[in-house]
């Protein structure tokens, strides 16, 4: 199980526009070699759907950011954009509890990055994702 106290040491990622409108994505500055960087987000009531669960669009937005940020750490400053993102919704998420994210690159070519990741709450997987990013200009 994880809780709010596990967020100690996490730092906000400063982003503008729609990302700032979404809320603050946090990252764990510490990352052991070979391990995925951990991300976290504290969802609120505005991130819910009419059924009281975290909205699928919100979860896909956070997945896009977690996978995208992990991609950008691997592109030596080059900009990459999402070509495709496949998301499966394994269980309902709730507001008020940290949503954890992580991602790992499966393959990197000259112009494409294949990546997989997931979002979880407590010990429950909420979303799994795979995606392809294109390195622009490559």
């Amino acid at each position: 199980m994880t809780s709010h106290s596990d967020l100690v040491g996490f730092a906000p990622i400063t982003m503008g526009g729609f990302n700032a409108y979404l809320g603050t994505l946090l990252r764990d500055p510490a990352k052991a070699a070979g391990e995925a960087r951990r991300f976290a987000f504290l969802p609120e009531g505005k991130h819910l759907n009419g059924g009281g669960n975290l909205h699928g669009g919100f979860l896909m937005s956070i997945a896009d950011n977690v996978l995208g940020f992990t991609v950008h750490e691997a592109t030596e400053g080059k900009i990459a954009s999402t070509v495709t993102l496949n998301t499966d919704f394994l269980s309902g998420g709730v507001a008020g509890e940290p949503l954890w994210g992580r991602a790992a690159i499966a393959r990197k070519t000259r112009s494409l990055i294949f990546i997989a990741g997931d979002l979880s709450q407590g010990d429950k997987l909420v979303l799994t994702a795979t995606g392809i990013w294109k390195i622009l200009g490559a």
């Binding site: 982003m15 503008g16 526009g17 729609f18 990302n19 409108y21 979404l22 009531g45 505005k46 991130h47 819910l48 759907n49 009419g50 059924g51 909205h55 699928g56 669009g57 919100f58 896909m60 937005s61 956070i62 896009d64 950011n65 900009i79 954009s81 999402t82 070509v83 495709t84 993102l85 496949n86 998301t87 499966d88 919704f89 309902g92």
Partner: protein, 161 residues
């Protein structure tokens, strides 16, 4: 400049309270008279969409984008397009749901064909590809000025209310 669409929103839709939109300072796009009565707080927080019924009975949904949706490089954030897709394909799937049933997204595949710029109007006429007792398959091709910019396919699980 919200025009009449804001005051025309019903109090409930699909048995759920309609959320008060956060985006009210936009006009209904030409050809769209009905604002979507959004029941999901997250959708009403992010955008206001509109719909029109076509002569063939299909429904087209429209999303006006603006600076709020910029992902900080003058391109509309993919998360917003995926959220609009989840919304439009949900209303499409609900049309195939039995009475007193509900459906939730099990899976969505999203492809980004071309950058969408803030200010672009995104339009989609989603279709139900297949409907079974427990699952509904939907897909949509999203257009800007008639050109495909994004596509999504979703699988919905039919559940009891």
């Amino acid at each position: 400049m919200s025009g009449d669409w804001l005051s025309a929103l019903p109090a409930t839709s699909h048995g759920l309270p309609v959320q008060r939109p956060a985006v009210t300072d936009i006009a209904a796009p030409a050809g769209y008279s009905e604002a979507m009565p959004l029941v999901d707080p997250f959708e009403a927080y992010c955008f206001q969409s509109f719909r029109r019924i076509n002569a063939d009975g299909s429904t087209t949904y429209a999303l006006p984008t603006d600076a709020r949706h910029d992902n900080s490089n003058s391109v509309v954030h993919g998360g917003l397009l995926m959220t609009f897709a989840d919304s439009a394909l949900a209303y499409c799937a609900w049309g195939g749901c039995p009475e007193n049933a509900w459906c939730v997204t099990v899976s969505q595949s999203s492809s980004f064909l071309k950058a969408v710029r803030p200010g672009d109007l995104v339009e989609v006429t989603p279709v139900i590809t297949r409907s079974t007792r427990s699952m509904i398959f939907t897909r949509g091709e999203f257009l800007v000025r008639g050109e495909a910019v994004f596509q999504a396919a979703s699988i919905w699980k039919v559940t009891g209310r």
